[in-house]
Structure formats: structure tokens, C-alpha cells
Amino acid sequence: MKKIKYLLIAFILLVFFPQTVRAQSLGLGIYPPLLEVTIMPGKTLTQVYHLTNSGEVNLTMTSAIVAFEPSDETGGVKIIENTEKLQPLQFGFLNADLRLGQTFSLPTGKTQEVVLIIKVPETAPEKDYYAILLFQTSPLANLGGQSASQTQTKIGSPLLISVSRTGEPFRKASIEEFSLKNCAKLCIIDSFSPPQWLVRIKNSGHSFFKPLGKITLQGWLNQTETLDLLPQNILSDSTREIQCQKEDQVVSCQSQSKFLIGPFKAKLEFGLDDFSNDYQKEIQFIALPFKLGFGLLILVIILGLIKSKLVLDRD
């Protein structure tokens, strides 16, 4: 009888007070997230990577090196599965117990350190090689007799490798576009709408670079404003839309002025991995208070109509 009572209590507890089921998470962290390196032919480079399992499940991982190219003008990567573009560079791990491509386990809360070695043969052409070190989880082998999608996770870290004998690879840029956004040919903007610039820089050299420079806005009363370009990587044979920075924060390249009036000049100047004015372009525009003028015009018309109505009523 006592046994039945306990079983009944247990049954009630299980049915009416179920345990909260918390969904598990899979978490991966990688360091460093980006490697930029210039290396001479015939040299070898090693870089330590840390892969951390920050989730709540133990993982089985594999690694791979793949090539990539820019997918757009904002720094996105387009993975190219074959590694032809990386030839003749040789990639591997220096770990005693782990080879590139080999499966390894990564328990929850643990970090796997891998030492990536990149060998650049003496005969390697002097150019850039863009690769990604990818780590991927192994999917479950058995989904248990049901229709399902199983998920797999990859996390990668891009490598920008510039092979150069001199350490000063050929760098060349062109200003693809320096214009006011929303302004085609006749650039007249409203005084209350701060101008925003579109900066697109093309890398026509053999090596990636960062543009270091600024946009200077100068008005007819010599008032000036400066926007610093964000030093973003531009890969060879690609174009990138560059953003600006203010106090180490990324911002759009937009004037902070609340009100502008009259003719203005905006000058873009930058150097490649160096602050200089090697590359320059200037545009001009005019700021006029359209909206205010339009508002005043409407106001005058309304007042005029009211006045004529009053005159008519009086007559």
C-alpha cells in the first residue's frame, strides 16, 4: 500500500511538474579571425590558431584550407572549394598529433590549438593568395528513422597572403567612385540634409592594401570638416566600398554638419598603407535650403489665400 502511495506521488510530480527542457547550444570560437601576412618566396610561416568549443555539446571536428575571393564590395568572402588558386603554397599543421584534414574531438569548454604552417616555395609567383582555414563539425550519422534536416557548422578564418621578394609588393589603386549619394550630375543638396559620400576604391595592383586617408569638406567661408577613412583591406583585382571612422567607431562617410549653405568642395585623398595624398579626387556641390524655402513658399501662398478670402468676405 505504501509502495503504491509513493508511486502515485511520483506519477503526480512527473505529470504535473515536468522538468524544464533547455535546448542545448553548439558554440565555436576561432582566433585569430583574420591573418594578414607578407612573405618572401622560399620562406615558411607558422601561425597558432585557437578553436574553442563554447557550446554545451562535445564536437567532432575536421579542418580544411580553401581559397576565397571577394563576394561583394563590403568584405564578404566567396569560398572556392578547389585549392588551385592557392598553388604552389603548401599548408599543413605542425601539431604532433593532428594533421590538416584529420578528424579530432573537441569537448565542451575546451580549446584546440593548431599550428598552421604555410610553406612558400622559392618558385612561387609574387602575388596574393587568399585562403580560409575552415573547421567544421561532423553531422550526426543517424537521425533515427524520421524526416529531418541535420545541421553542420563551419567556422573559418581568412588568410591574406602576399608573396613578395622585396616586402614591398606592387600596389596600385584607382578611385572607382567618389560621389555624393543621391546626387547624379547636378549636385545640389538641401542645406538640412548632411551630404553622404560614396567611396569605392579599386585595387589594380598585385597585393592587398588598406587606404589610409580622409575626406575633407571645405565651404566657401573656409569652414572645414574632415572624415577619416576606415582602413579596410582591398584585395587585388577587386573594388571595395570604403566606410569612415570616428573615434575608432565605424560610421558612414557622412558629414556631421547640421546645416550647410553655399558651394562646397569635398576632397578625397589617401595613400596605400600609408597616410599620404598619393590618390586624390575632388567633387563640388551646392547646398541650398530647398525644404525651408518650399515651406516658406507654401506659408506665403496660404497666407495670401487667407488674406484674399478675408478681403472678399469684407467686400
Partner: protein
């Protein structure tokens, strides 16, 4: 017999005369006044950081931004108290310090200009910002019509001590003039006039003075400042300087009488030390996580209430028995990175859902209602007669999703895309617009719900259908 009134008067007069005589004699030979000590004396310096003084090591080139300093011949022998953002005067121009690379190398934010590149070109970082000396003390004696004189130690070289560059053994005058001296306010016994500032010349002391009229007073707290528009330039480290140990300098405060003789005097110490550069390297990292979501979640709207519990590894739709309903499920993706250029997350399916994981038969990717939707272009998918497999997104934290389920119809819609299909073109998932999350800046815990939707036709061949969805998280370069 008593004295008459007249006799009393004569005697009193005689006594007064004698007393006045001796007083007059005493005034002819006055006793010397002993010098007392001013008390509560101090010099509060608004900026107690030593100036930096070094020079280029070796010939640099025009445009060079990496600067190597001489480590043995100048007051500063390393970069330990240079700071990013300091204004460095090199040769004839001012530059901004960018980063400190190591003990003898730092970078500038702009390249060296012509004329500033030779070996041993001087590098100074002047510490005169807020370097206001506030000198206070309490008087000891009555000193009538006198002056307060402050002596500030300076280099004994008449040129060096006032050239606007820091010296290793004293304060540079740095163009401080009388207008930069603020005398004490007038108080009982003191009526001050404007101050003066005198170059040390070869004396070793810059002199600042505030004269006053009045009787002077004892125990009166007075305070004056040196530094208004121009401020004295703090010294560079002494030759015997040990980093981390302050260099102390003695400021002398005097109360002079009308004949410019010192009546009261006291010394006050002022100490200067390197600034402390606190630095910490925050390592860049990227972290990505997937979490399962419980059944009943409505993150993509109540019309897409999730039917199953998902895990980190799977989206188990289970046994499909209702051919007149959508099967919905969700997972949550979260990304954090402090990489400057942000990140992106893409996904692809290895193939459409295939029976037993095989190529055929399969459950096709959805074409959406008025489609076709693709892996790039989303469309509404709310019509039950449209079968297939697709997904939508909903921001959970941040605004990083490529699109959202309610972009078109906020409450009733389900804007969906096909999964990029690897077997139908391994580059589908790399196409512009196929990413599911991205951001161009560092993010802290941006998260998105991925809402899976499956609708199966009643004529679909019975069996278990599988595929694999792969998520790829990469930093942007």
C-alpha cells in the same frame, strides 16, 4: 604735605619726556627683525607628467611613419612614456604618435616631412597641457609694501631654458609672460598689483613676482598661479632618472620687503613622473553558435508556430502525416566578433530532402506562392497548396538578418527563400544575397532565428527524407 596740582603736572610731563626720549633713541638704532618661515607652502602642478625628449636613431626617409629612437644619448632612452595620440615635435613639425611598437620604436599617423629625417633630429613631446602651477602658502610676518617672489628651477643655459623645448634639469619658460601670472587676491594688509615673469637667464631660476602695497599681515593664506595662456614646460627626465621614480624640483617662495630683501622664505617640492601607459591587447575573435528551439515558438509569427523541438544537430520534422499543413521548426544562430570588419554567415543544403538521404525521390525546395522564390530572392509562402522546403529569418538581437519573415506582410505573411543547393551549383551559397546574417562592424551577440518550413504533398512517396544544412561563419576581411 601733599604735592600741588602744578607740581603733579610738571612731574608727569618730565616722565613723558624721558619715556619719549628713550623711545626715540631706540628708533635710531632699531633691532634686526628675524626671518620667519612661511608655512603651509605647496606647489600644485596641474600636469605632473615628465616631458619626453629623445632623437631619431639613424637617418629616416621622407614619408616614413615608423620611428626609431636613440636609446643612449638623450633624456628618454625608451618609449615607455610615449602615448598614442601624443603630439610629437620632430625637427620642425608636429606629428601624432600612432602606436607604440616596442621599447625603441613607435609609429606616427603621418609620414615624416622633408627636413625632419636626419639622424639625431630631436623628438619632443611637450608636457605643458594643464601644467598650471598653483602656489599657496601662509604668511609669517608683517612685511609692509613688499612682494611675493617665486623661484622656479631652470636650466642655466640662457637659450635652452626658454626655447619651448623640454630640458632635463628644469622647467622651460615656454613663452610665459607677466600676463600668465595670476597674483593673490587682495586681502587685509595686501593690495596686489599685476605680476611679473622673468627669464632665468643663466641664474638657474625663472622668477615670478607679485608686488603689493599695505602693511602685510601674519597668518594669511595666499595663493598665486603661473600659467594662463602659456604654461611652464615640464622637464624631461633627469640624467639620473629611474623610470617609475619621481624627479623632484624645489620651488622657492619668498616674502620680500620694500627693499627687495627676503623677510620670510620657504621651499616647496614639486614632483614629476612618467605617465603610466596602461595597455591591454584585446584579441580579435569570432564565435558562432547554434541553439535548438522548443516547440510552440512563434518567432516567425503565429502562423509559423514551431511544431517540433530542434537540437544543435538536427531539425527533426518527425513523421509527416498531415498533408494539409505546414510543418515549422526553428533554430537560433548567434554571432559575436570584435573583428573590425564584422562577419557573415551563409548556409547551404547538400541536396534537397531525399528519401533515405538519396537523390530521388525528393521533396523539392519551395517555389513560394507567386514565385519562384530562389536562394537569393524571397517570396511570400503562405498558400497550403504550395509544397516544398524553405526557410525564413527573424532577428532576435541586432539587425543582421538578410531578410525577415514579415518584411512584406507583418502579421500574416511568411517570406521565404530556398536553401542554396550545393549539388545544383556549389557556388549558390556564395552568391551575393544568399548570406543569412552579416554585419560590417564588431557585434556582441547578434542573433537570428532560422525558421524552417516544410509542406509535403499527399502523393509524396512514403519514407524518411534527409538532407544536411551547413552553416558557415567567417569574418569579413
Amino acid at each position: 604735605m601733599g604735592l600741588t596740582r602744578s607740581q603733579w603736572a610738571r612731574r608727569a610731563f618730565l616722565a613723558l619726556f624721558i619715556a619719549s626720549f628713550f623711545q626715540g633713541v631706540s628708533l635710531l638704532v632699531p633691532s634686526k627683525l628675524g626671518s620667519a618661515t612661511l608655512t603651509a607652502a605647496k606647489d600644485q602642478l596641474g600636469n605632473a607628467r615628465l616631458s619626453f625628449s629623445s632623437a631619431l636613431e639613424g637617418t629616416h626617409v621622407v614619408g616614413q611613419t615608423t620611428i626609431n629612437i636613440d636609446t643612449s644619448n638623450y633624456p628618454d632612452e625608451n618609449t615607455n612614456h610615449l602615448f598614442p595620440g601624443d603630439t610629437a615635435h620632430i625637427g620642425s613639425n608636429n606629428y601624432t604618435v600612432g602606436t607604440i611598437i616596442d621599447s625603441d620604436t613607435f609609429t606616427l599617423t603621418s609620414g615624416l616631412l622633408s627636413g625632419d629625417t636626419s639622424d639625431d633630429t630631436k623628438i619632443y613631446v611637450d608636457q605643458d597641457t594643464n601644467a598650471i602651477h598653483t602656489i599657496s602658502f601662509t604668511t609669517a610676518s608683517f612685511v609692509a609694501n613688499g612682494a611675493i617672489r617665486i623661484l622656479v628651477p631652470a636650466n642655466a643655459n640662457n637659450t635652452n631654458n626658454s626655447d619651448g623645448n623640454p630640458d632635463a634639469d628644469g622647467f622651460d619658460l615656454n613663452s610665459v609672460t607677466a600676463g600668465d601670472v595670476t597674483c593673490p587676491g587682495d586681502t587685509t594688509g595686501f593690495d596686489f598689483v599685476a605680476g611679473t615673469a622673468t627669464d632665468a637667464g643663466t641664474s638657474g631660476w625663472h622668477t615670478f613676482e607679485c608686488r603689493y602695497s599695505g602693511s602685510g599681515n601674519t597668518s594669511t593664506a595666499l595663493s598665486l598661479t603661473i600659467g594662463v595662456t602659456q604654461k611652464l614646460l615640464n622637464p624631461a627626465p633627469e640624467s639620473s632618472h629611474v623610470q617609475g621614480t619621481a624627479d623632484d624640483y624645489t620651488i622657492t617662495i619668498r616674502n620680500l620687503n620694500s627693499a627687495y630683501s627676503t623677510v620670510d622664505e620657504v621651499n616647496a617640492k614639486v614632483v614629476l613622473i612618467e605617465g603610466v601607459r596602461v595597455s591591454a591587447t584585446v584579441e580579435s575573435t569570432l564565435s558562432f553558435s547554434i541553439a535548438g528551439v522548443s516547440a510552440g515558438s512563434t518567432n516567425c509569427g503565429t502562423n509559423a508556430t514551431s511544431d517540433v523541438v530542434t537540437t544543435v544537430y538536427s531539425v527533426p520534422f518527425g513523421s509527416i502525416s498531415n498533408f494539409n499543413a505546414f510543418y515549422d521548426a526553428e533554430q537560433k544562430l548567434t554571432v559575436s566578433t570584435n573583428a573590425n570588419d564584422g562577419y557573415e554567415v551563409r548556409m547551404y543544403e547538400d541536396d534537397e530532402l531525399g528519401k533515405g538521404g538519396a537523390d530521388s525521390p525528393f521533396i523539392a525546395d519551395t517555389l513560394c506562392d507567386t514565385g519562384p522564390c530562389t536562394h537569393i530572392a524571397p517570396q511570400e509562402w503562405v498558400t497550403l497548396s504550395i509544397n516544398g522546403f524553405g526557410y525564413s529569418l527573424q532577428n532576435s538581437s541586432g539587425t543582421d538578418s538578410e531578410f525577415e519573415w514579415d518584411d512584406t506582410t507583418p502579421t500574416t505573411g511568411f517570406k521565404a527563400k530556398q536553401f542554396p543547393n550545393y549539388t545544383e551549383g556549389s557556388t549558390q551559397y556564395t552568391a551575393s544575397g544568399a548570406e543569412i546574417m552579416s554585419y560590417n562592424d564588431p557585434v556582441d551577440g547578434s542573433s537570428v532565428f532560422v525558421c524552417y518550413r516544410l509542406k509535403v504533398s499527399g502523393t509524396q512517396a512514403a519514407g524518411d527524407y534527409y538532407n544536411t544544412i551547413t552553416y558557415i561563419a567567417t569574418p569579413q576581411f
